[in-house]
């Protein structure tokens, strides 16, 4: 069976957004910024779901078009679910390149409490929350500056901006098999 039924944005649209430097394309990207509850295809033109298995390294996306700056302004977010009764779960990835799109994701990323005690220390945190067989979310952000952030958030603490971020990545992202 397969669940790879996410419908990636048309390549032409994504390329166009990445190459755009003018106001018209930027406006279009802004209008289509990711929104909660949208379908997979609801992602902004520049926020195409990642494809293939290359999402482990931020720089491995093939360059699109002739805009050599695209990789340098790219934002990538991965959400991996582990735990649960099964132990393993899918991983979702979104990649954004258009400036307005990157900004939209960035503001959501920055609203999350990355410096709270729990992130980065998942096993200890989850173990003290109580219960068993709960999901644990590992969230990684690869910023355009090549800086990285990561956090592990147990399902029980997945609320507010964390929930918003994870839900948006699930909606807009490409799901990979369990690992």
């Amino acid at each position: 069976m397969t669940t790879h039924d996410d419908d990636p944005a048309p390549p032409g649209a994504a390329r166009g957004a990445e190459q755009a430097t003018g106001g018209a394309a930027a406006t279009a990207a802004r209008d289509a910024e990711p929104h909660r509850g949208g379908a997979a295809t609801g992602a902004a033109p520049g926020s195409r779901p990642a494809t293939g298995d290359d999402s482990d390294s931020a720089g491995s996306e093939p360059a699109t078009g002739d805009d050599s700056d695209a990789a340098g302004s790219e934002l990538r977010i991965t959400v991996a679910r582990s735990g649960g009764l099964l132990g393993t779960g899918p991983r979702w990835t979104v990649t954004a390149s258009a400036e307005a799109d990157v900004d939209s994701w960035l503001s959501l990323v920055e609203s999350c409490p990355w410096d709270a005690p729990e992130p980065g220390d998942a096993p200890a945190a989850a173990a003290t929350v109580g219960g068993a067989d709960r999901f644990v979310y590992t969230i990684r952000v690869f910023l355009p500056s090549a800086e990285e952030r990561d956090a592990r958030v147990p399902e029980q603490r997945l609320d507010g901006p964390w929930r918003d971020l994870v839900d948006r990545v699930k909606d807009a992202g490409h799901a990979e098999p369990h690992r």
């Binding site: 669940t3 009764l85 132990g87 096993p123 989850a126 068993a132 709960r134 098999p177």
Partner: protein
Amino acid sequence: MSSSTRPPASALHCPTTGSVPARPGFIVPPYLLARLAEADAHGMPRAAEAARRSLLADPALRVERERAAVATPAAPASVWAAATPTVRRTIFDAGNAESLPGRPVRDETDAPADDVAVNEAFEGLGATYALLLEAFGRDSVDGAGLPLLATVHYGRDYDNAFWDGERMVFGDGDGEVFGRFTASLSVIGHELAHGVTQYTAGLVYEGQSGALNESFSDVLGALVEQHQRGQRAEEASWLIGEGLFTEAVQGRALRSMSEPGTAYDDDVLGKDPQPADMAGYVDTRDDNGGVHLNSGIPNRAFALAATELGGFAWERAGRVWYDALVGAPGAPAPVSPRATFAEFAAATVTAAHARFGAESTEASAIDRAWRTVGVRSDDDPR
């Protein structure tokens, strides 16, 4: 599991008839009731009395009632009225939201609901209660008659079941990979066993102690299913979560206790990642340090010991695992909250010595099983 393996509804809903006082149902399959009614010869007077009463109370169980009456005459009602272990279940419906506990939809006074998940949860709680009481003389999760709570229809397309510290919670599944999580009795037993561990050894839910916590839940889940089916170790599937996957999935169950790593191999789920011995131990920060992965190692030790010993697994290997977790007379009690695999293995060997004797087949089978999975070595005393 097929519905035909469950006790009939008449056995699940105890009416209050004749001179028998009203009380919540005591839910045990008839053949177990008959066997349990004779258990006072083995030091379980309260359980035996409760079973006799249950047989006597239910007009649908006339045959068993007569058998029990022949085996052991009923005691006066005053003997059991105060102390009878009694299951008290309440099932809630979360209505596909994620807030708990949800709306109460069935308790001991209600007839079966018009909702298969509600009834499966209710019956599964009863089957788990029955195993704890009959096999181990334990009255509910806390050993003191704790009411059993479950919530069904949690979340939307929710692919999981969990224990939240007070109750079991079941999702409906997404319908593409997973169906409803109440469909597997071993999963219901698994979740409730997390409660038993919480009230006893309190194994910390990370790393090796977390994998032991997970493994004990799989052990108890398997035992509940075998007990309910009247299955011997050599007849059992040793699968956890059989029947949860949709037909589209290439897989038998969530886990195989006897053959960890072989339960599924699927496009979406990937391949069952459980190791079968210490050589395959998985070091990871995911899944609370791989608690659902490395549980394959102690799981296989249990399945190996139980199948070598044969018979009903809860009577020998299961009894020893329970003693090690909870503590038992003659065995140092219970294992520490941060127990390693090696510490737990040593605790089971000690518990087997205490319950069955140092030269017993139980002790040697259990010791051998831990060696096979690489947890015990030649450095450990036999």
